[in-house]
């Protein structure tokens, strides 16, 4: 049995190959070097699954996911350009892959072809200690990048839960965010300029500064384009001094609405917390209890300030005063600090959900006027149509005008049949996201669109989606770059 299957696998691998495959492979080898082109079965498996639930479930149920024919690891923008020219010539789909930690299926090679893995482009090019910027290659692991800049006495202040596995390019491609975004911004706020290899293999740079009146902002066009418009190969990012101190404080409010009022008032006061996080009652009961040991009814809210200690103390005093207006239970600094110390634990076993459970992060963003309406609309639609699903949520990233909702649904026993499970899963997404859009939300805040939400892009944009589709057509005439993602045309 075992020999038979291996033989079948091996022969099927070879049966599909011809001199054309060998020719293309030799061109790719010429472009990036023999060590950096692979059609290895172990690599193909590794590149066939990201953190999107569908391919994970597909794998878990013993099914094979679509695989790339070639995996290439270019070491420079020039090598990326060579690969894209080859792909254009032969009309081969190219799917950029950074850390493979995306949750939207954006890096999956759904049409086979080439996986362009960026991890070999992993160097810090320059740290400018006058402007406080750093220029890095985009295949660099985000944790490596942070440690490299910390060694020089600075920080990117970009601390997402995926920091240890994602690349900086992945954050750029999906408009990612980190836990300190409320003060330091999302990734698109951190970028000064980028280098991009266009689908036809031209290397271009955007303007060196992000504020100008020299035409539309080309940088922002590429950010969030998820590899559909080219490959971002270098980025110059803002960096920051390591703050003198960072302090936290936590409260337990009677309910989510009171906590939201307090959080929104902090933002409207124009204080500058580095983080505010508010957990709804179910998530407070489910996760805050398990991770932090706070076994109480209500909505947990934590905030933090960083910078000079005298300023932090002053801001902290004002923020506490704002919160106390809603009569919460004061949990103090210690249970705020505990949240910070355990902030990544929420996203890892045993606290994170896992197979065979079905789960998804319905993250969205809206104004303060709309965000609770979005929450209730999503929650109601999930509860009413999928009573077997749990719905929990927290508000992670706060702006002067509103905040981001990180809502999640969890189904302990989804259908066993993978096709049925896929259809069931997609129904939840379709209904919940459409409810968010109808109430002023968007389809995503920082995970991106990918394969998972592409079909909902037209719902979100309406006629404006044609503008995006036309841009894609002009910039990638042969449609080689990550086809079938973000609602764009497939192969």
């Amino acid at each position: 049995m075992s020999n038979n299957l291996t033989t079948i696998m091996e022969s099927s691998r070879h049966a599909g190959r011809s001199y054309v495959d060998a020719m293309i492979r030799s061109e790719l080898t010429d472009a990036v070097g023999a060590d950096y082109v692979s059609s290895n079965a172990a690599d193909q498996l590794g590149h066939s699954i990201d953190y999107y639930w569908i391919p994970e479930m597909w794998h878990d149920r013993g099914r094979d996911n679509p695989k790339a024919q070639y995996i290439v690891h270019p070491g420079s923008a020039e090598e990326v350009a060579k690969v894209l020219r080859i792909a254009n010539n032969y009309r081969i789909p190219v799917t950029p892959w950074g850390g493979g930690s995306g949750s939207q299926g954006g890096a999956l090679p759904m049409y086979g072809g080439i996986i362009l893995d960026t991890k070999r482009m992993n160097k810090v090019i320059h740290i400018d200690t006058e402007a406080l910027t750093m220029t890095v290659e985009t295949g660099m692991n985000a944790q490596h990048m942070e440690w490299a800049v910390e060694k020089k006495g600075f920080s990117t202040m970009h601390f997402p839960a995926s920091i240890a596995c994602a690349t900086i390019g992945g954050f750029l491609a999906h408009r990612g965010t980190g836990v300190l975004s409320t003060k330091y911004g999302k990734i698109e706020d951190m970028v000064m300029s980028i280098e991009v290899v266009t689908p036809e293999g031209e290397i271009i740079n955007t303007l060196p500064v992000p504020r100008h009146a020299s035409g539309p902002d080309l940088t922002q066009l590429y950010l969030g384009s998820e590899g559909t418009l080219g490959v971002i190969t270098k980025v110059t990012l803002k960096i920051h001094p390591i703050p003198q101190c960072r302090k936290f404080h936590a409260f337990l409010f009677k309910d989510m609405h009171q906590a939201m009022t307090a959080g929104a008032n902090i933002m409207r006061s124009r204080l500058r917390p580095c983080v505010i996080r508010l957990y709804d009652e179910p998530e407070t009961a489910r996760l805050i209890k398990r991770v932090l040991g706070i076994d109480k009814q209500g909505a947990y809210l934590v905030f933090g300030f960083d910078g000079f200690e005298s300023v932090v103390d002053l801001e902290m005093t004002e923020a506490i005063r704002i919160c106390m207006r809603e009569n919460p239970e004061d949990l103090g600094e210690e249970l705020g600090q505990a949240w910070w110390d355990n902030r990544y634990k929420f996203f890892y076993p045993p606290y994170m959900f896992h197979m065979p459970q079905a789960f998804g992060t319905l993250d969205t963003v809206a104004t303060f006027a709309n965000i609770e309406k979005v929450y209730w609309a999503m929650k109601n639609v999930v509860n009413q149509n999928f009573p077997e699903a749990a719905f929990i949520g927290h508000y992670s990233h706060w702006y002067e005008w509103g905040c981001m909702l990180y809502a999640r649904f969890i189904v302990d026993q989804p259908p066993k049949d993978p096709e049925e499970a896929t259809a069931y899963y997609n129904r939840i997404w379709d209904m919940a996201i459409r409810a968010a859009i109808a109430n002023g939300g968007v389809i995503n805040e920082h995970h991106g669109v990918g394969l998972k939400l592409g079909r909902l892009m037209k719902d979100l944009y309406g006629p404006a989606f044609k503008v995006l589709a036309d841009i894609k057509k002009v910039m990638d005439p042969n449609n080689i770059m990550n086809p079938g993602k973000m609602g764009f045309r497939g192969v």
């Binding site: 049995m1 291996t6 950096y36 690599d43 992993n122 692991n141 944790q143 596995c165 634990k345």
Partner: protein, 341 residues
Amino acid sequence: MCRHLSPVGNVTYRESDTPRGRALMLDKVSQQPQLLENPDFQSAIYDAELSAACRTHCVSHFDEAGLLLAARRDIVESGKIPAVVKQVADSIKALKLALKGDAKAEVIYYVDRYTERYQPEMAAATEKILKAAGVSFQIISGADTGKALAVLGCWNEAKETAEKFAKSIRGVGKKVLITSCPASYDLLKNDFPKYGIDLANELEVLHTSEFIRRLVKAGKLSLRPSTAQSVFPLASDFLGNYNTGFTAHEELAALAGVTLQPFGFNREESYTAGEGGVVMDELNPRLVAKLVEHVLEQVDNPSQDMLLVLSPYTKYVLSKFATKKLHLTTVEELIAARIKE
């Protein structure tokens, strides 16, 4: 899952060399055991550095090394051992243990293969320290303790080798056994009970740095003050991730007045160039050369910085494969050079 602490993944850039890629591969194998025979899967399983960094640094303490070792054992037991692995295992099995010195000595000093073949200066430094402290010792050398075979997946042969090793030192009264080899230290401390070998009442197993620290603290060694040179320690896989809380080398450095500085910028990645793989240079020298180059990239001033290496294996591969001359020392050499004559 973390990619920042996988040295092999950080030099090959391949998904199958990252903790997540390896987990996917092993999960697929658990669904389809016959995939263990796939040469691509086998090569990824045997290319793993086995640093066990995931055990220490992963938020959920994922035991990647344990899973990979189990997969290697499954490969061997399925009779599909890769040719290069068999060749290395056979060469290890052919080795013979040799005992030298007074059987009544208070200490047995196990000299591992890498020290014996490539780092005689480590053995010379250890012997100098023991003599200076007036410690009588017997040397056992010439063969593997069983650790290399175990890591290759040859569990039965590893057990036989470990039993032979135990037999050679059994029945000589209560002794201290010291070794500079972190892999052997791990085997003697942690693996012997798994093989049903109980030497706890006869043998106290110490890494040389632990024993030297004991000698210094007991006043049996007098050390000259250190020069002002900064020393950068390369943490050991076996003395760190496999045996957490090991700090003897740091305490010893402090006793010797040596200032240790953090090496590199990644506090979690292994910079041993494959120490966890025990004989990784024999399996895949090209890959080890890349790992060494990766270590070299982290050295700020190769011409000045002194690197404190905690294993004979790492010292050997850094000496052999580095494209620039590195200043390497070990605990034994560092202390031996400071003994007041």
